[in-house]
Amino acid sequence: MIWLPMWLPLAANAVLAATGPTLVRVLPPRVGVRLLPTAMVVVAAGTGAVLASLGFLALALVPAVAAVGDWSPIALRATRPGPVPMEVAAGVAMLVLLGSAVRQILRAGHFLVRTHSACRSLGTHTYGLVVIADDVPDAYALPTLPGHLPGQAASGIGGRIVVSTALLRLLTAGERRVVLAHETAHLIGHHHLYVQLADLAAAANPLLRATARRVRLAVERDADEAAAAEVGDRRLVARTLARAGLARAAASPLRPDSGVALAATDTFVAQRAMALLSPAPRPRRILAAGLVLLVGVALLGTAAAAHQIDDNLDNAERAPAATASY
């Protein structure tokens, strides 16, 4: 019973893994983009902390470790959250997941630095806009690291918007405004950070992978809704998506050899267009509150688990100071 709080982060993790993809779909994108990655990181971290605690309890049974902490193995064995092999497995799992998370951080950091230097080498840009000569209709946002970029202040959007001449020629002025507003929304909303957080949580906890994939969709939806708000016409945004998507498909027929890259750049064009033709998303305050509650439970559980482990180790201490005072 005293070990009950310890399982709360794991339970929260299971709930989030099961409901995450639906939550991202149902919540308004603006809320989902900000709330879910945060919840994912907290829950994944809580799960990691519990696994680490379990692993440590097993580790404390090793005589050499017990000697360092001056713990009595007999007292430690007396009250335990579960069987020792389970604790060992938890510890090992924690190390594997931690390694995966660190790898994800290094990978993202490496790429962010490369993007940053690419941005710097783009040279001529005005208000963050870079037009490139390219036959493939394309537009994307490149976030830059804060500061250290000449002319960055002038752009005011924290990155560069890259648009190909092929896309510009294809679209009407209203549609070009949609593309620019969409990419600006990505940069101003720091969408890359939320995607990074979700990917990090998924690396640290594979159960959250499906949710992380939906976060990418939510990010695109959020930028679409921002663009729709700016131009005041949801249908225009849907039409821009459809026309740009079809033009791109015509310009670059699917190449089977680059299947990995294609899968990675899935931007859910059809789903987004359909969503824009449906009524604007509803607030869904209760669902959002439920998600916040889940995060709270995970946090509380993690804190309680840490406290319980600490108590357990304290009780197992051979207490030489106490004996000496007699």
């Binding site: 993202a108 490369r114 993007t115 690419a118 783009l122 001529t124 005005t126 208000y127 963050g128 037009v131 000569a133 209709p137 394309d138 994307y140 946002a141 752009s155 959007i157 001449t165 510009l168 020629r169 294809l170 679209l171 009407t172 002025a173 209203g174 070009r176 405004r177 507003a181 969409h182 990419e183 600006t184 101003i188 890359h192 995607v195 700016e230 131009v231 016409d233 249908r235 225009l236 849907a238 039409r239 459809a242 026309r243 740009a244 998507g245 079809l246 791109r248 015509a250 699917l254 680059s258 890259a261 294609l262 990675a264 750049t265 931007t267 064009v269 059809a270 267009a273 359909m274 033709l277």
Partner: protein, 151 residues
């Protein structure tokens, strides 16, 4: 910052720099230099003429636009040729960056990417359906035939 953050009657306010970016893409898409009134027309006229003119001349002051007096009006074009050598070199560098798995790190946000084949028909239908809604907005280019007539 400048005095103009014009808002459109049907839309919300433009964020800072948005009008400048729209004008730049408008000139990049055009076949030749444009006069302020041509820019205004291609931006669908939800802006005041003076706003467009002021913005164009400010962009010229910054050295982004080239200005020439043709007859009684100035015409504007991009200083950096979008089809020029620099632009092509940049495009190649960016493509290399994209092809080395950058999206796996979640750093880039594409407007569109390659479509699943089953999505194509859906989008074609969608364009057909949205035709009446699009009419009031902009009709300067045909709704289908992407890239048609471009070099």
């Amino acid at each position: 910052m400048a005095m103009s953050t014009p808002s459109s009657p049907r839309g919300g306010r433009r964020p800072r720099g948005a009008l400048e970016r729209e004008i730049l893409t408008c000139l990049a898409a055009a076949d030749g230099p444009l006069t302020p009134s041509q820019v205004l027309v291609s931006l669908n006229g939800d802006l005041a003429y003076t706003t467009v003119m002021t913005t164009l001349s400010r962009l010229h002051d910054k050295g982004v636009l080239r200005r020439e007096l043709v007859g009684r009006a100035y015409t504007y074009s991009l200083t950096a040729d979008p089809e020029g050598a620099h632009s092509i070199a940049v495009a190649q560098r960016m493509r290399r960056l994209l092809e080395t798995g950058g999206d796996r790190a979640g750093v880039l946000a594409h407007f569109i990417a390659d479509l699943a084949p089953e999505d194509e028909q859906l989008l074609v239908d969608l364009i057909e359906d949205s035709r009446p809604a699009g009419r009031r907005d902009d009709d300067e280019s045909p709704l289908t035939g992407p890239g048609a007539g471009h070099p």
